[in-house]
């Protein structure tokens, strides 16, 4: 078994646009007719399909989340938002300026604090519901620690007029990756804030100078910076990720997707989604010693999907 462990591997996506389209069309209609209440089931169906069509070493990934679980989270998330809006509107209706101002400030602070809660909850739920060969992923981050990172980073970002955001992003990635588990495999992120800042600086500058043409190199650099710095660790063996995405590839992807979506008036979105997933997975190479048969189950069961839904409502895109 040792001999075939050390070579580069890939994740393959087998999804088809027309199958995803079938799921989308049913989702859209049911979501319209249920005035949005079907949304969690719709999301679960898409995730289930996408995971099931993603293969690594001959085995597919699974998403175990159910519409019912996500619906409970959805209701809680709606409850939280109604509560926040009620406080905001109540404060404004008092017509006392001081109270209204406090209400508005409270509303925005609460909204900002909800972001880490949502990211945390969403990661915890999504990871726990993801498995491969029956082994579950897991997220072991602690909300309090994550909140601290987030509030400190957020305040520094505001104080530096956004400049700190690059270091902040890398810190968050490091925290999140170091807390992801896949059975007994752990993850880490090797990025560096200063490097990331320079990369962005160069990207903005050259994109500006070349009237946007450089932006395709820029996005492929950003993607590579994300992928190349990911590490997996199995029993002391380090497994690396490498991006092979090129600027030309990105150009084809972005322009192609735009054309598909525009010319089908949005109906072609599922094909664009499939193209994107194909592009992403086909451009990630996993290198290093990994024993795909020796991953041990380590994570506990976890069922709360509230974070997943709050993050949808404040529109945080997770992987």
């Amino acid at each position: 078994m040792e001999s075939d462990q050390n070579y580069s591997r890939k994740i393959t996506f087998y999804g088809e646009g027309n199958k995803l389209f079938g799921i989308y069309i049913v989702n859209v209609l049911l979501t319209i007719f249920t005035l949005g209440l079907y949304y969690p089931w719709a999301k679960a169906a898409v995730l289930r399909y996408v995971y099931q069509e993603t293969e690594f070493e001959g085995s597919r990934f699974s998403f175990h989340g159910t519409g019912k679980e996500m619906f409970k989270g959805f209701i809680k998330a709606i409850g939280i938002f109604i509560g926040l809006y009620a406080i905001l509107i109540g404060a404004i209706l008092t017509k006392i300026n001081a109270i209204a101002a406090i209400g508005v400030i409270f509303f925005y602070i609460a909204l900002l604090l909800l972001i880490p809660v949502a990211i945390h909850g969403s990661l915890k739920y999504r990871m726990s519901r993801t498995s491969w060969r029956g082994i579950h992923f897991g997220y072991r981050g602690i909300l309090k620690d994550f909140m601290e990172e987030f509030v400190v980073g957020g305040l520094l970002t505001i104080a530096t007029l956004g400049i700190y955001s690059f270091w902040f992003t890398i810190k968050l990635r490091k925290y999140i990756f170091s807390n992801i588990r896949f059975g007994n495999i752990s993850f880490s992120y090797k990025g560096d804030g200063t490097e990331y800042f320079m990369l962005n600086l160069k990207g903005y500058f050259l994109s500006f100078l070349t009237l946007g043409i450089y932006s395709f190199w820029f996005v492929s650099d950003l993607f590579a910076y994300f992928i190349d710095n990911m590490r997996m660790n199995q029993e002391g063996y380090v497994i690396k990720f490498r991006s092979t995405a090129s600027a030309g590839g990105y150009f084809g992807l972005i322009v192609g997707n735009l054309l598909i979506v525009i010319f089908t008036l949005g109906l072609g979105t599922p094909w664009a989604t499939v193209r994107t997933l194909n592009f992403v997975f086909s451009n990630i190479i996993i290198e290093g010693t990994i024993d795909v048969n020796a991953i041990q189950q380590t994570e506990m069961d976890y069922k709360d999907a509230t974070g997943e839904d709050i993050s949808d409502m404040i529109d945080i895109g997770l992987i």
Binding site: N18, I23, V26, I32, R60, G134, I295, Q297, M300
Partner: protein
């Protein structure tokens, strides 16, 4: 006894076991060779087997408490055997099965109905909704929007400052029975036309002004255009026409978006034709204004006749736009003019009118 080739995962490690599944009356038996422990058999109680609902052709079943055991089977015959062996076991949730089958006709049908729904809402629901939404726009904002559209539109024209000032003096003497601040602009243009914008701006082409023979005609024109403003006809029309963009802006609660859309389209919007009902409504209100100001309604008849001659100027599109159905409107106003009483001389208005005429001569 039929056996199915499967992959089996015990839930403890990621080892993929090539195994065989055989279906028993009340259980499933999974047999495989463990690399360390040799031949193994696992029994799954049928009542605790769960199926992973999916959209692929791979069958995935799970069993037990967390961490669950998993089996994957790519053999399509398994489905038939399951239905035969366990006819009353709910392995296949009917609703999901319906989605899973995904026949092409079903998908096409659903797509067609979705497109139908979109078109229906775009053609009927959206314009209706937009018109209602236009009614909700506060007057202050309407005036601001109108101001912005006016700035955008007027840039295309050559303004006639002296005539503009004279006509605005004329406007001040008439009580238009509206709260909107009425502001007229006369522009140099070789066509007979006039239009109103949301919030109070009225643009009159000097050609039309030049062809008028009495103060009553100008008063009637103003009364009619003011009525369009008063009833927010032009705002409603604009919302109706741009309902797609505006619905998105409203949904995003994006007032700036609305302003940008209106500014971008103001040139095209000013010449939108009003529906028959809106023209009728504006005419009725105009008649009311004219009567209240004790002016002769025959001026209105003359105005409409004048506009009609303008429309015959080999301008087929003009015929359809701005003020349609002139014949019917003339008949209606004539009817109203017959019974008119309590007309008064209005010297100050006449004086302002003469100033306008004098300026035109220059």
């Amino acid at each position: 006894m039929q056996k199915f080739e499967i992959s089996y995962y015990d839930g403890e490690t990621s080892v993929s076991h090539n195994a065989f599944l055989s279906l028993q009356h009340d259980s499933w038996i999974i047999e495989y060779i463990h690399p360390l422990f040799g031949n193994r058999a696992v029994k799954w109680e049928i009542d605790r087997v769960e199926r992973d609902m999916g959209f692929t052709s791979i069958f995935i079943f799970r069993y037990g408490d967390f961490p669950k055991q998993t089996l994957e089977c790519k053999d399509e015959r398994l489905l038939n055997s399951l239905k035969k062996f366990y006819p009353d076991k709910p392995f296949f949730d009917k609703k999901i099965d319906f989605l899973l089958r995904q026949s092409t006709t079903l998908i096409l049908g659903l797509t067609a109905s979705l497109i139908g729904l979109i078109i229906c809402s775009y053609v009927y629901i959206l314009p209706w909704f937009s018109e209602k939404a236009a009614g909700q726009i506060p007057v202050s904002m309407e005036i601001k929007l109108g101001e912005m559209m006016y700035e955008n539109t007027i840039a295309r024209y050559t303004k006639n400052d002296s005539l503009t000032a004279c006509v605005n003096d004329f406007v001040k003497i008439i009580d238009f029975k509206t709260d909107y601040p009425i502001e007229v602009t006369v522009v140099a243009e070789d066509e007979m036309n006039a239009f109103a914008m949301p919030g109070g701006h009225i643009v009159i082409y000097n050609q039309l002004l030049a062809k008028m023979k009495s103060k009553e005609e100008l008063a009637a024109l103003l009364a009619h255009e003011v009525s369009h403003i008063h009833y927010r006809h032009s705002l409603k029309n604009i919302f109706r026409t741009l309902s797609g963009y505006l619905a998105i802006s409203l949904m995003l609660n994006d007032v700036n978006g609305i302003a940008v859309v209106l500014a971008d389209h103001s040139n095209m919007l000013v010449n939108l034709n009003y529906s028959r009902n809106l023209e009728q409504e504006a005419d009725e209100k105009a008649i009311e204004i004219i009567k209240a100001n004790h002016l002769n309604l025959n001026g209105f008849v003359d105005l409409l006749a004048l506009l009609q001659t303008g429309n015959t100027d080999l301008q087929p599109f003009k015929l359809l736009s701005t003020h349609p159905l002139t014949k019917e409107r003339i008949a209606f106003v004539k009817e109203m003019a017959k019974g008119q009483t309590a007309m008064k001389k209005n010297d100050s208005l006449e004086q302002k009118w003469q100033t306008i005429v004098a300026f035109e001569k220059r």
